[in-house]
Symmetry: C2
Subunit: 182 residues, 2 copies
C-alpha cells in the first residue's frame, strides 16, 4: 500500500503499472497478486483510508473546540494538518477516485458524503448561532471551504511552504475574516 500510494501520487493511478509497484517493494509483479486481488483494490483501500482518516481526525478536533467560531477554526486547521500528514495518500484519493469502477466508487462517495455532512454541521452551527454570515447558502460555504482545503493538499511542498499548522491558521483567518483591510 505504501508503495502504491507513493507511485500513484507521483505518476497517477493509470500511469502506474503493477510491475513498478512490485519493483518498489523488491518482488516480482506476480507476487503482488498473493496480497491483492487487483490493482483497483489498492486504489479503493487508499480512498477509503483517506476519507476515514480525515473524518475521524476532524470530528475529534471539532468536538474538543468550544463555540461555533472555534469549531470552524479547528475544522480548517485540522483538515490541513491531517491531510498534509499523509499527503500522498490524500492526494491520490482526491485526484484518482474517479478511476474506480461504479460499485467501489459509490462506496467511496458515500464516505465523502459522510465527511461533507460533518463539515455542514459545523458550518450550520455557525450560521444558526449567528457567528457566521447567513446571507450565503450553507452548501456554498461548504463548497468554498472544501475547494480551498482540498486543492491545498495538491500543491503543498513541505520544503517550500509554511508548515501545516501555520498554514491552517492562515487559511482559517482568511476564511473567517476575509482579505479586506479593516
Amino acid at each position: 500500500l505504501d508503495a502504491a500510494v507513493s507511485l500513484f501520487s507521483r505518476k497517477g493511478y493509470a500511469a502506474t503499472s503493477t510491475r513498478e509497484i512490485a519493483a518498489l517493494i523488491g518482488i516480482r509483479k506476480a507476487s503482488l497478486y498473493y496480497h491483492i486481488g487487483s490493482k483497483e483494490d489498492l486504489l479503493f483501500q487508499i480512498c477509503t483510508s483517506s476519507l476515514n482518516q480525515i473524518r475521524s481526525d476532524v470530528a475529534a478536533a471539532v468536538q474538543s473546540a468550544n463555540g461555533p467560531l472555534e469549531k470552524a477554526r479547528a475544522l480548517v486547521r485540522c483538515h490541513v494538518e491531517s491531510m498534509l500528514r499523509d499527503q500522498a495518500e490524500h492526494l491520490t484519493a482526491l485526484l484518482e477516485m474517479r478511476a474506480l469502477s461504479p460499485e467501489p466508487l459509490e462506496q467511496v462517495m458515500a464516505l465523502r458524503d459522510s465527511y461533507e455532512n460533518l463539515v455542514d454541521s459545523v458550518l450550520q452551527e455557525g450560521q444558526t448561532s449567528a457567528a457566521l454570515r447567513t446571507d450565503i447558502d450553507g452548501n456554498l460555504l461548504r463548497l468554498y471551504l472544501l475547494s480551498l482545503l482540498n486543492r491545498t493538499v495538491i500543491w503543498h511542498r513541505p520544503a517550500r511552504h509554511l508548515p501545516p499548522g501555520e498554514l491552517g491558521e492562515v487559511w482559517a483567518s482568511i476564511f473567517l475574516s476575509g482579505t479586506i483591510q479593516r
Copy 2:
C-alpha cells in the same frame, strides 16, 4: 482536440486511448496520426490553450475594473466565468498537466507562472493601496485564492450549481469579506 478534451476530462489522460479519440471523430486511430505527432501533443496543446485563455481573459477583466478592490473582484469573477466556459479543457489542464514529459511541462509551467504573476500584481496593488490586509504574505494570498478558484473548476456541474457569474460573485464576497457575521 475537442474529442481529446472531452475524453481526457472524463476519463483522464493516461486512461484514454488514441483509438477512443479517433472513434469519437469517426475515423480509425491510424488516421489520427496524420493530424497529430503524438498523444502527448494533444495534452500539450490543451494545457497551453487553457493557460493562454485564462490569462488573456483575466488580464482584460482586471484592466477594465477601477480601483484595487474592484480589480480583485473582477479577477475572481472572471477566473470562474472563463474557466467554466471551457470547463473540460481547463479541467484537463489542471489535472493532467503533470503527465507531460519534462520539456513540454516546463513550457506549460512557464505559462502558469505568467498567470500567477498577473494574480500577484492584482493582490499586491490591493495590499500597497491598503485595500487588502497586509498582515498576510502576498504569496499566501495567491495560493489561497488560486486553490479556491482552481478546485471550483473541478466539481462544478452547470445543471446542479450556481451559474458561473453568480458563483464568481459569491466567491469574491467571501474572499474579500470573510464568513464571520458582522
